[in-house]
Symmetry: C2
Subunit: 578 residues, 2 copies
């Protein structure tokens, strides 16, 4: 491609509302243009990267035996009513009426449509396993679209749906997709991690997320460098930090802690480690036609509540935080010095696994400005319900028992999920098994955020000058920057020759023949993030040399003109093989 025939739309400044690096750089590099909140056009340079991502995804999906189809963006409400999601989904499901007042949605996902296809097309166990995928436009009416393509409203996804005759089949289909995802993100050239999205101890169908590791990621990922354990902090199992409970050594005692409502302040005042204090968190669950149930959750002073885990506990689905009025009614005191001992009305106590193994701890006295020290289970208060209700922290033991947890930030770019029979049962997608008996199909679903990958790749690879694309998804692999293409015959001739050599070698090369000054040329291509560059100038040509520079290199390398194409090709090949 020659730049004069292409469209370069770099900008000096990013709009002020671009919050994250990838958003700013994609706008400045002329990859995207905003059409409305969370809705973008992909300009030619941006679309080239998208097409490369799509090609890799398509190749690996086909290799894994998945079959491409294409479902519509606009879906009838009836299908969503059948699955029950018409009611379950919130306002991010974009609903509208057509000219005949029939209700439709713009699909944020396609479980309903694909299940409808399956129930009509799959009659027998002999037709399975089958895995349908598409690369398609989705719409999710985010309340606050932001971060450019990372949390947009209209976006491109690859979504796949597997249909199996039994759970064993699903496991195999799931494994194939998992392996394909590993190949996809490896080929794209991203540092990524597959993490458990769902805690095994709490149950539920298996589900894993693929995260691109980046300091600016939205999600906290717990992982163990000594093993392959990795899980979203939302889901990572927290083990008790004490193997067993020590015997009580202190007597229980009420202590004045005036103005010290927080655990940190109490520990400082009493001169004890924060790890001896207990945080009481008051939740409520509503009971129809009766007063709510009030829960007291106990966490070690330095630990944080994990609301996802709490929501999965028996009786706590749909919990809310208790109101101040409820706290006064149940504890006889306003929030601040609460504890499990001597409540005014009975509450349900749930202790975190770590708290359950503590002795001689400190809790609020249910009286303003007082705490109780030397509290012990069994002696001072009954044995509690025990559950994993906290977030893991760096240094915690890994749940697989093979080392300590570390935490990094990640951007979710893929998700594999064992759906089971949820949709096939709701929508009557059955097949005849070996005995001629109808059975619900066993489903899995597998998503990759195609447009999101661009943002994630940039968050992981940029510097102050711009984007640094992994070779596999760079809009161009290499740029040729001639110094005086219009003025110097030898520069033009050698540049054209190099361009022809690289093109013939199957390398995606762009020749900057726009006649811009070197500074403008370099700045544009560094901003756009082309990973390799060769500068051709009269001075170098006199010595038979050109200047090669990788996007991360601090200095150029002089390369003999007749070896330049091979040199660059080898650099690109090596990078792609990484």
């Amino acid at each position: 491609m020659k730049a004069s025939r292409f469209f370069i739309g770099t900008l000096k400044e990013a709009p002020a509302d671009a919050e994250v690096v990838s958003h700013k750089l994609m706008l400045r590099a002329g990859m995207i243009r905003r059409v409305a909140g969370g809705i973008y056009s992909y300009l030619p340079v941006g679309l080239r990267s998208i097409r490369k991502v799509e090609a890799i995804v398509r190749e690996e999906m086909n290799r894994a035996g998945a079959l491409e189809l294409l479902m519509p963006a606009v879906q009838p409400a009836e299908l969503w009513q059948e699955s029950g999601r018409w009611e379950q989904y919130g306002p991010e499901l974009l609903r509208f009426k057509d000219r005949k007042q029939s209700e439709f949605v713009i699909g944020p996902t396609h479980e309903e449509v694909v299940t409808d296809i399956a129930r009509h097309q799959i009659k027998s166990y002999r037709q399975m396993p089958v895995n349908f995928y598409q690369i398609q436009t989705k719409f999710r009416d985010e309340i606050r679209p932001r971060f450019g393509v990372m949390r947009g409203r209209e976006f491109t996804m690859k979504d796949a749906y597997s249909f199996d005759k039994d759970q064993a089949g699903l496991q195999e289909s799931y494994r194939k997709m998992f392996d394909a995802y590993v190949r996809i993100f490896t080929r794209i050239g991203l540092e990524f991690r597959a993490v458990n999205a769902d805690s095994g101890s709490i149950g539920g169908n298996r589900s894993q997320e693929f995260h691109v590791i980046a300091a600016t990621g939205e999600d906290d990922i717990a992982y163990c460098p000594a093993s392959d354990f990795a899980a979203n902090v939302e889901a990572a199992e927290a083990l008790p930090l004490y193997a067993e409970r020590a015997a009580p050594r202190e007597a229980m005692q009420k202590t004045a802690t005036p103005g010290k409502a927080k655990c940190e302040a109490v520990a400082e005042l009493l001169n004890i480690p924060l790890e001896r204090t207990i945080k009481s968190i008051i939740l409520a669950t509503d009971n129809e036609g009766a007063e709510p149930t009030i829960w007291l959750l106990m966490l070690r002073g330095d630990h944080d509540l994990n609301e996802v885990k709490v929501g999965k506990l028996p009786g706590l689905a749909g919990f809310r935080f208790a109101t101040e009025a409820e706290i006064v009614e149940w504890f006889g005191t306003p929030p601040g010095y609460l504890g499990p001992i001597g409540t005014k009305k009975p509450v349900k106590v749930v202790a975190d696994r770590t708290v359950a193994n503590m002795s001689d701890f400190v809790v609020g006295s249910n009286e303003v400005d007082y705490h109780t020290t030397g509290v012990n289970w069994g002696r001072d208060l009954p044995e509690p319900e025990v559950a994993d209700i906290r977030n893991v922290r760096p240094g915690d033991p890994s749940p697989d028992g093979r080392g300590q947890i570390e935490i990094c930030r990640g951007i979710e770019v893929g998700h594999v999920f064992q759906l089971g029979t949820k949709y096939s049962e709701a929508m009557g997608a059955t097949f005849l098994d070996e005995n001629g008996k109808p059975q619900p199909m066993v489903m899995g679903c597998y998503g990759i955020g195609i447009t999101r990958i661009l943002g994630a790749a940039i968050e992981q690879n940029f510097d102050e000058r711009g984007i640094i694309w992994p070779e596999a998804i760079a809009p161009f692999e290499i740029v040729l920057c001639p110094m005086g293409y219009d003025r110097s015959e030898s520069v033009r001739a050698e540049t054209d020759k190099l361009y022809a050599q690289l093109s013939e070698a199957g390398i995606d090369v762009i020749l900057d023949d726009r006649g811009e000054r070197p500074g403008v040329m370099f700045a544009d291509w560094e901003l756009i993030g082309v990973p390799h560059r060769i500068v051709i100038g009269d001075r170098g040509l006199k010595e038979g040399k050109v200047e090669y520079q990788g996007r991360r290199d601090t200095e150029p390398t002089l390369v003999a003109l007749d070896q330049a194409a091979g040199f660059a090709a080898e650099k690109i090949r090596a990078a792609l093989a990484r």
Copy 2:
């Protein structure tokens, strides 16, 4: 591809609501599945054909220098308000509100979005010409979606938009697109015709449609076999059928024609040719705050009114047919025996070009059961306004003066259009010209109905057994049908060898290893429309032969096994080169 790993979803019967052949066959061949009225999923076999169409379109667009980008399906109302189309468009523009009550549309086309991109990205004449295209999902809320993918609501289009600094540039951009379209439809293997969509005599910007010729087409195309003239009948210029007006020979006379309101009946009663009679058509145009203007349009008895042409005449934009009450008020008689002579109130008379050169003709007398014969211009009624207001008919002289018109039916699959500055002026898309003066960009737009091409190709190529795909867009180029793949080792071995040979030759081959009976196999692939087939069986193999059969052949050809791959490859190559 092996059929056991693919998904064949052929059906015995098409749903009753499928009206046209292509719709029935696409459903029966398992290419599409209906999701809602005018909304389809493309199953794997259907998507393969779509992808082949897309690849050809993309290749030729790139070759013509157009740059691919991707605009969103969801577009903000503001852009449509700027262009004025928010008000102009009818209910086929799907409008909705997002969760914040902002108004959006699902785009049926992208002039507004691309003009918004251009006005922000193009600053100087040096950045033009540029032509942006996309292959993307559109939505048009048709009141009566039908004919499967031919008149769907959600569909895939290639749309391109060129930006030039002046009209000469637009001509050149337009010519490039026209040439690309000719290559695209030629490569796809369709019999097509480029037709004028807009009559040159009436004016307006240049616009041409590409029609696939098919008996079931929705449009009538007038063309001249002796020249390259072709135009939509809506737009084809009708010349006067008489070079000049003959001198009057009859006296004007009122004649009883009881019960003969129609021209045919009058001609029969009076024993004169239908060509001597005149049809009077009464139209009205409304005037604000005043009574409407009533128009009497005169056509030869055997001619039909062309409403598109009429709508472009001065004063007749937005015309309607007059009501019965208006006819009684202006003509003093109910509809049936109307004519230009002796109206009750003055009407504006427009005569078709042919009528203007007639003598001694017959018109209604504005009295029930009476006609007036021997009517002549100038003598019996004033010289009329003359205009081209009729449809051309077979046998008419071609407007280019080089032969006679014939008429065929076509399916519109492409459209090229010189927009000029309509959108750039409405939306302020200006650039600085050579003198630093702001000028509106000069635009063209160019569409191809990607999904529609599938339907059109089938309407042109089918028989009672199913589809007959042109090789370039067939889901597979050739199918191997082994007789007893599971039972006969030699059949399996030779089939596998042939499969490998064809695959290596770059041929898109499917091997039917499903173990179906021959009848089922043949029926499936004939329905799906794979254009070439090789049958491998033990009987033939004994003689070292296999059976080749083209989809249009009535008999198979015996081919030596070792030449079979080459034989088939040559057939496919020859077909693609056609």
